[in-house]
Amino acid sequence: MTVVEIPVEKWPGAVREVTLGSSYGGGTRTSTVTVGGETVQPFLGFEGALPHRPALAVEIVDMEPGDWSPELVATWGKDLSDPAKWATRAVEEGADLIALKLRSCHPDFGDRSVTDACDTVDRVLAAVGVPLIVYGPGTADQDNEVLVAVAEATKGEQLALGLCTEKNYRTIVAAALGNGHLVIAQTPIDVNLAKQLNILIGDMRLPLERVLMDPTTGALGYGLEYTYSVMERLRLAALMGDAMTQLPMICTPGEEAWRQKEGRAAADVPEAWGELAERGVSWEVTTAMTLLEAGADILLLRHPASVSVLREALDDLTKGA
């Protein structure tokens, strides 16, 4: 009888466990999401622990996003104009958590007040029980202004606040620290830059159990391989014991995939590209699935069909773990 000795790799390090959402101490969430805790490479359950499955977040915007792909607009329909309804439907479609982007505070997109932004966050928190990720309008200065106000108004909810970058980490980390929230530390596709920002955040005494790292997503065909390899290297470093890489990774395949021509163009494209409805979802699913294989812990998605494909894939990948 032939016996094959399966090579098993044991690692000294583990990814930190990070919990989003809270149901006490000011938190009103009816469910929480814990990610991380891996002691092995992605989904290799035969050699170690994978205590938490990666989570799927659906991205919503606080205003009708006029520049989104027609396929997404058709799919979400009138829910696009009401963040509370949009969030509710996203949860029905299988979202483990909601990522809300407060874009309308951007001077180019409505320039609405910080009070309005806090209102929107409140309405979404009231509409759904899942944890919330909140993004500012997207520039470091405005993010500071909006996220600080949101952080104070939602004390104890254990939101994840983004983006926290090298430019504005002091303000965002302070807001998280004082109000019981988490931060999303984003750096541009580079192992050392990611570590450096995590060190800076750690120096401000925010426990690293409250930090998610976003290594910056390149979409399929638009730099995916760089993100993929940087994530593999970050995860291997974490397993080898490098504390500054032992954070769960959050990726944005939805935004990146649907932003590209492949996710937007319905006409005037080569026949080999196929139909937009199938192409957009293919782009999002392929990007997201590849990132899962590299160690993604939270995926931000945009299309309900992608959520359902990824959910099924995760059911299979974490079977018996």
Partner: protein
């Protein structure tokens, strides 16, 4: 597995006779380990040393060719588990499966053969057609394979049947000339399958059930004993978790444990109930170690995504894809559209072009030849200086296509603006944002103002 210089030295005669042209046996061993010389330069090497060194020089995963002629493809010869450790060399063949009794068989074969899509200037294709024996006897199967060959001449094939007589009939009917992959020899039929594959000189896939690697080792030894040299491994798992575990174990066993019996490329039968589920499974197979990926759905959008993924994953991390340095048009640029310049590192190009496209302002994008370096790196290396920028502008012919003379340079090289102005008399040099993500805002508020 490759031996170190010292390990090789132990196998040499240690006489320092210098006949090999090197001063000592140790020096010769060091050169051998770097593959800088050949063992046969040594006149007195023992047969034992030869055998050991030959074995060490054999690639841990055998290179296997499927098909013949122009569309033939090779897989295997991989040396790492992670692409950042070196690179992945032989991209997996993407094969579409069709049943032999499918009335659409010839049509599908033609579509598979004809599918073509272009990315970064490279034409991407599907690699083959798998004809699965369904219904009918050996003669019916052979006829189906012949019909597929007629509809798609030269397209590599995978012949799927558990019946060796059917495979034999198809190969004898002419398919052997195409050197198809025969799938699969199992514990039940390996003798007959191996005989057929050996007789026709075709590569043979061996299939165990439910990730039974020991079963694969037995099959491997059996069919090699029967004279088949080119094998592929199908661990016969169902689903993502099983595939990932088995494929990872096979790759590790071949690379790290030198398991000869398992030193062959892997076949991933990724077919799923829906094209979406199949896409997820095929994605994993491309990223994680498959040599051939068999899918069931010929959905162009999904195929395009998989071919793009394969190109991404199999790009050498040390040699990033470079864009052709020239003038690119983002959207329908007109004479008063802005002109931006960047470098020809593909990721730089795609990031900038993506942001410009997303901004909704059509623009001219000039790409300078920076040997594939990003803006800052190219600037530091002297490959993106004022002279290079001016030359790119002049050579591109942009001047005759625009009604203004304004050039936006990347914010990271703001310091070059004066020099560029000197090199390009009459041009107004504008300093753009440092990060591509700020381009939409820049085009709206600075350019548009």
């Amino acid at each position: 597995m490759a031996l170190t210089g010292l390990e090789i030295y132990k196998l040499l005669p240690k006489t320092n006779c210098k006949d090999c042209g090197f001063p000592t046996c140790l020096a010769f061993a060091m050169k051998l380990s770097q593959k800088a010389t050949e063992l046969d330069k040594c006149p007195s090497v023992s047969d034992e040393a030869k055998t050991t060194l030959d074995a060490a020089a054999t690639p841990p995963i055998k290179l296997v060719a499927i098909g013949s002629g122009e569309r033939a493809f090779e897989i295997g010869n991989e040396v790492v588990l992670f692409r950042h450790e070196k690179t992945f060399y032989h991209q997996p063949g993407l094969v579409v499966r069709v049943k032999s009794d499918d009335p659409q068989l010839a049509e599908v074969a033609g579509r598979v053969a004809g599918y073509e899509v272009e990315r970064v200037g490279i034409k991407l294709h599907l690699d083959g057609l798998a004809v699965e024996h369904a219904g009918g006897d050996a003669a019916a199967y052979a006829a189906a394979v012949a019909a597929a060959r007629a509809a798609a001449p030269g397209l590599p094939l995978v012949l799927i049947s558990g019946d060796a007589a059917a495979i034999d009939a198809a190969l004898s009917g002419g398919a052997a000339a195409d050197r198809p992959l025969v799938h699969a020899a199992t514990a039940a039929n390996w003798q007959a399958m191996a005989d057929v594959a050996a007789k026709h000189g075709c590569p043979l896939a061996i299939r165990a059930e439910a990730g039974d690697l020991a079963g694969l080792v037995d099959l491997s030894e059996n069919v090699r004993g029967a004279g088949v040299e080119d094998l592929m491994l199908d661990p016969g798992t169902a689903g993502l978790a099983g595939d990932l575990a088995a494929f990872t174990q096979l790759r590790r066993l071949a690379l790290k444990k030198g398991a000869r019996a398992l030193g062959y490329p892997i076949v991933a039968v990724a077919g799923g109930a829906t094209w979406q589920a199949e896409l997820a499974r095929a994605t994993q197979a491309v990223a994680k170690y498959a040599g051939v990926v068999i899918i069931d759905h010929l959905v162009p959008a999904a195929v395009y995504a998989l071919l793009t993924l394969r190109q991404n994953i199999y790009t050498d991390p040390q040699k990033p894809i470079q864009m052709e340095p020239k003038l690119y048009e983002v959207g329908s640029a007109v004479p008063d559209s802005p002109v931006l310049i960047t470098t020809n590192f593909s990721l730089t190009y795609f990031t900038v072009a993506g942001e410009v496209d997303g901004a909704g302002t059509p623009a001219w994008l000039l790409v300078a030849d920076s040997d594939g370096l990003s803006v800052l790196t190219a600037w530091a290396a002297g490959k993106f200086d004022a002279e290079k920028i001016a030359k790119t502008v002049k050579d591109s012919g942009i001047e005759s296509r625009i009604s203004h003379k304004k050039l936006v340079i990347p914010g990271h090289v703001a310091g070059l603006s004066g020099e560029v102005e000197e090199e390009l008399p009459g041009w107004q040099i504008m300093v753009g944002p440092r990060d591509a993500v700020d381009i939409p805002n820049y085009l709206k508020n600075v350019w548009g103002a």
